[in-house]
Amino acid sequence: MIGWGGWLSPAARAAVVALVELDAVQVGQFMLSRPIVMGPLLGLLWHSPQNGLALGACCELLSLDDLPVGDRLPLNATVAAGAALLLTCGPRPLPVAAALPVGFFAAWAHKKIEGFWRSRRRELCAAAERSIREGEAPSWGCWIGKSLAQQAAGTFALMLACVWGAGPIVGALWLRLPHSVVAGLELAWRLGPWLGLGVAFHALRVRP
């Protein structure tokens, strides 16, 4: 039986991931949100340094040559690592081999959410232009605050969906999956660092 504390703690953790994710594009870009930094850091905070480092390293290497150039929206590696780590540290922890694919799926879903917000934010531009034209003092803080709050809320909702929805479902499925599927997922996880190193070689070989 899991008490309220057991469920609320993942919600607080999801909020931390949502706040750190803002660093990926919108605030600062200090690399705090990069999986190789965020994974071990959150792993240390949540008493799971090994999983944090392993997931962070794997997501970092796999996303190393996926560049946010122009209007290109790459899969969000922060969300992938964050969701996977939340699932391995949750009230009913998932094996890492199962959590990482869920993390990738969350990153894909986040890409859709972010695309939606990026389209909607043009309304903020229109509001800013209208306000300046009418000679009002621009409400920069309000527009920026709204934009950041929307982004963080989207990420937070997705993280909660992972912890409270996908986590229990995948956890239940994991016990019923055929051996071959489990073996396939575990092999991919074991090969993950090697695949990531191949991607890293590619990132350093080809200039953006």
């Binding site: 919108q26 071990p40 962070g56 040559d65 934010r121 903020l124 934009s147």
Partner: protein, 255 residues
């Protein structure tokens, strides 16, 4: 430009992408960043300030770290426009707009190569290699990876972003000429070579820590990933392929 003003612009430039959108990309963030400077330049000049704010609400996009150079340049050119007689302003504004657009696209290429293409892989290599050397499962390895990645990256990126503001202001329309004499390309090349050496070291350490029976599979996976990325297959699909390969191997009784 006083240090206080530079600090204010720098702090605001950290939110350049806060309202990034597909239509005008970084324009709203740029407007927010330039606000204190425009307010200072155009105070008491009637509609000049409003028009200045409006002209920076047009499409703008560049590499976020290189934007500091452009912000500095815009500050210098806006100061020039505000200080010139009304008849000379349209020409100066047109020059400002074209310089801003040209610098945004030219500096984006340089910034992508430097920060995304060289510094980020270098820092990832440094964090990973150190963590593997310290023993991957330990808390020390995790602490190293987080600290090394964060500190190494920001030790280069933050001072550059700060200095770019001042340089952009001083260089004005001479940014392209000044950057030609900067040893940036050499720095990028050296960083990439060092990053490559760190990734090789990570491979060696991973081989050391892997059971002999699994080393061949690991090296084959690395080569396959390198080849597939060369063929533009996404890294996530490659991971999915590894799951399918595991599934097939399990069905064949190899696992």
């Amino acid at each position: 430009m006083s240090v206080g003003m530079q600090g204010s612009l720098f702090g605001r430039s950290l939110l350049l992408q806060s309202c990034w959108n597909f239509e005008r990309m970084q324009s709203l963030g740029l407007g927010f960043c330039l606000e204190p400077w425009l307010a200072r330049c155009w105070s008491g000049q009637g509609d000049g300030g409003r028009e200045a704010r409006l002209r920076h609400q047009e499409y703008f996009n560049t590499q976020p770290y290189m934007a500091s150079l452009i912000v500095g340049m815009i500050c210098a050119l806006e100061e020039e426009v505000a200080g010139s007689p009304a008849a000379a302003r349209p020409g100066k504004i047109a020059r400002l707009q074209s310089l801003k657009a040209a610098a945004a696209s030219a500096l984006a290429g340089l910034g992508d190569a430097l920060f995304w293409g060289a510094l980020r892989p270098f820092c990832a290599g440094l964090a990973l290699t150190g963590a593997l050397a310290l023993g991957f499962g330990s808390w020390r390895a995790a602490a190293w990876a987080a600290a090394a990645g964060l500190i190494a990256y920001n030790a280069v990126a933050l001072p550059l972003r700060w200095r770019f503001l001042r340089r952009g202001y001083e260089w004005k329309d001479q940014i392209a000429n000044r950057l030609k004499s900067w040893q940036g390309q050499r720095f990028i090349r050296d960083l990439r070579w060092t990053g490559l050496a760190l990734i090789w070291a990570a491979v060696a350490l991973l081989l050391r820590d892997t059971a002999p029976a699994q080393r061949l599979a690991g090296v084959l996976a690395l080569i396959a990933a390198l080849a597939l990325r060369g063929a533009r297959v996404s890294a996530y699909r490659i991971y999915g392929g590894a799951v399918l390969a595991g599934l097939a191997a399990s069905w064949a009784g190899w696992l």
